[in-house]
């Protein structure tokens, strides 16, 4: 009457809410769990909730949660058959996936080759092009000559962006709005690139004024089934950190959703991809979409999709890793939204670790909480600031937003600062409620000084 568990025992190579999430999935499938922890996390909930726990090192993540030998040893001494890496840490480390293989432990995720392929942006991009998935138009690699650059810039069209190949942090970067500016901008970028990185290599790409960041959730099993489970709109971000995710995206027509889903499935098939993955796209204001990258792991925001489809993605990951087929996802219903509650100042986003003097979580209809914290716990300063994910669903977007506002107001946390006031202000914001936001929204929103509004 009961299904045989896909594994007898799984080691969870992570901490915090995602470790708890994986332990929950295992428990529901009758799989025993092994937690790992650093000496800073001895009292953490993931340690308490697992069937066994092994200390793998001191607080520094490279010595504990990223310590491959100790983690593999922990799997060996506990006789765990498989390792779930969660997100972050070793989850997109092809080397780790390979070592798991050679140690005879199943890595719950895609193959090392898939991880490597998608980790190499240039290779991933050219594979997508071959597969007919639209990519952000631009030069393939560095610019060789000024003439070539000029020709290419006409093909791509304006505005475009010049970026240092070795770059980052805005240095060696120029946005060009018309051809007359191109020459000067190219030289300036090259000079800046050379000064900053010792290399004047730059490349050019189409620049999007108000893009949306929309990703498609994929599930692929070893028998060749590949399913798309709709999208998540992650355009509400600050400095590339996602703050809010929702589905359906307020701007996707069902035709565009279908096209993007087809493209994502095609991408996964072309890469021989197996397990859960996410294909990230930019959507411009004329509803064209372009491949950015593929994340080869479970995402922080996966509960949005789980809620809409009533589908347990983590269980699916574990089943796929055991060579079992996955169920078709069926239809989604309603609207789901996730707010990331961080231990940060709500307006400056400065970290705010500390002791949780009070931690009263919201409840009632349509509310899901994923957190590894509780009243009396301490948020250690060593790790990331995500302390809870609050996910709600409603029949309509309006109901979901109203429910989120209600749940946020119920969430009582004392002892630290959190991003709850930011989210409350956002849920009441007319522009956000209209759904016409893009990735630049948060900056504009903050410039309107929402903290001054009486709430």
């Amino acid at each position: 009457m009961k299904n045989t568990p896909p594994f007898k025992k799984v080691l969870v190579a992570n901490r915090g809410e995602i470790a708890l999430r994986i332990i929950r999935a295992c428990r529901e499938m009758g799989v025993r769990t092994v937690a790992i922890y650093s000496t800073a996390d001895r009292e953490s909930l993931h340690v308490r909730m697992a069937d066994e726990a092994v200390c793998v090192g001191p607080p520094e993540t490279n010595l504990s949660y990223r310590n491959i030998p100790n983690i593999i040893s922990a799997a060996e001494i506990t006789q765990a058959e498989a390792i779930h890496p969660g997100y972050g840490f070793l989850s997109e480390n092809a080397h780790f996936a390979e070592i798991c293989q050679s140690a005879g432990v199943v890595f719950i995720g895609p193959s090392p080759d898939s991880i490597s392929l998608m980790g190499d942006k240039a290779r991933a991009k050219s594979l997508m092009k071959e597969t007919g998935v639209p990519v952000v138009p631009g030069s393939e690699g560095a610019i060789v000559s000024e003439e070539e650059a000029m020709t290419l810039s006409r093909e791509i069209g304006y505005p475009l962006i010049i970026k240092a190949s070795a770059g980052g942090g805005g240095r060696g970067m120029r946005i060009v709005h018309q051809e007359s500016e191109f020459d000067n901008a190219l030289h300036a970028a090259q000079t800046e690139a050379f000064q900053a990185f010792g290399s004047k290599e730059v490349y050019i790409e189409k620049y999007f004024q108000n893009p949306r960041h929309v990703e498609i959730q994929i599930l692929a099993d070893t028998e060749g089934r590949v399913y798309a489970l709709g999208e998540r709109d992650c355009s509400i971000q600050r400095r590339h950190q996602k703050l809010v995710e929702e589905s359906p995206s307020p701007v996707l027509s069902s035709r565009l959703r279908q096209e993007m889903s087809d493209a994502a499935v095609r991408a996964a098939r072309a890469a021989g991809y197996v397990n859960a993955g996410t294909v990230e796209f930019l959507v411009d204001d004329r509803k064209n979409f372009f491949f950015i990258e593929m994340n080869t792991r479970i995402q922080v925001e996966h509960p949005v999709t789980e809620t809409l489809f009533q589908y347990d993605l983590v269980k699916a990951q574990i089943r796929i890793a055991a060579g079992l087929p996955v169920d078709p996802p069926g239809k989604s219903a309603g609207h789901a939204i996730e707010c990331r509650i961080n231990a940060e100042d709500p307006w400056t986003f400065a970290p705010s670790p500390g002791h949780l003097d009070r931690f009263l979580v919201p409840g009632g209809p349509g509310v899901r909480i994923d957190t590894a914290f509780f009243e009396g716990a301490t948020i250690p300063p060593q790790y990331d600031s995500l302390i809870a994910k609050l996910i709600v669903n409603g029949r309509t977007r309006e109901e979901a937003l109203d429910r989120m506002a209600r749940a946020l107001a119920e969430f009582e946390i004392e002892g630290i600062r959190t991003t709850i006031p930011f989210h409350i202000a956002l849920m009441q914001d007319e522009a956000f409620r209209k759904g016409t936001y893009s990735t630049g929204f948060v900056e504009h929103f903050l410039s309107r000084r929402p903290w001054e509004r009486p709430s």
Binding site: K2, T4, P5, K8, K9, R27, G30, V31, R32, T39, E43, V47, R48, M49, D51, E52, A53, V54, C55, V56, G57, P58, S64, P69, N70, I71, I72, S73, A74, E76, I77, T78, Q79, A103, D357, F374, E375, G376, A377
Partner: protein, 155 residues
């Protein structure tokens, strides 16, 4: 304030919902902060599927760390890595050290096997082995006390 008095005070606070207690008198200042959570021992939730009969108990029980009381002239060698503890280089060979063995800094005390590699654990001190906390073949996690060394007087 004697340890007895502190113990009495702790007992007193244990049964209350007090989370922070500070007292300063006669040059003594004490501050006690309590977690609402009982801490220290790791909770082992019962397997909710044990009825199914499919899941045997773990063959390897990772024991909880029972930290020995440190004394001024003793040092504890703890596990720097996760693995399996061995007292000798092979099943046939004699143990590296016994209780009472006099050891020198750099001398091999035991082995931790991890990922098929035998990692030799060396003494960081000159002294005498006072205690061996692990059984041969036992699993060890990071930071577990392995061997206690009494430091020689001239160390």
């Amino acid at each position: 304030m004697t340890n007895e008095e502190i113990r009495a005070l702790l007992n007193l606070l244990q049964s209350t919902n007090v989370t922070l207690f500070e007292l300063e008198q006669e040059g003594v200042r004490i501050k006690i902060q309590k977690s609402p959570l009982s801490v220290g021992d790791t909770l082992r939730l019962p397997s909710i599927r044990s009825m199914g009969g499919e899941v045997p108990d773990s063959a390897t029980n990772v024991p909880l760390q029972s930290a020995p009381t440190p004394r001024a002239n003793t040092r504890t060698i703890t596990a720097p890595i996760v693995g399996t503890f061995y007292r000798s280089p092979s099943p046939e060979a004699a143990a590296y050290v016994e209780i009472g063995s006099v050891v020198q800094k750099g001398q091999i005390l035991c082995i931790i096997e991890a990922m098929k590699l035998m990692n030799e654990i060396e003494s960081e001190f000159d002294g005498t082995v006072k205690a061996i906390f692990m059984e041969n073949g036992q699993s060890v996690e990071y930071g577990m006390p392995l061997i206690e060394i009494e430091i020689g007087p001239e160390a």
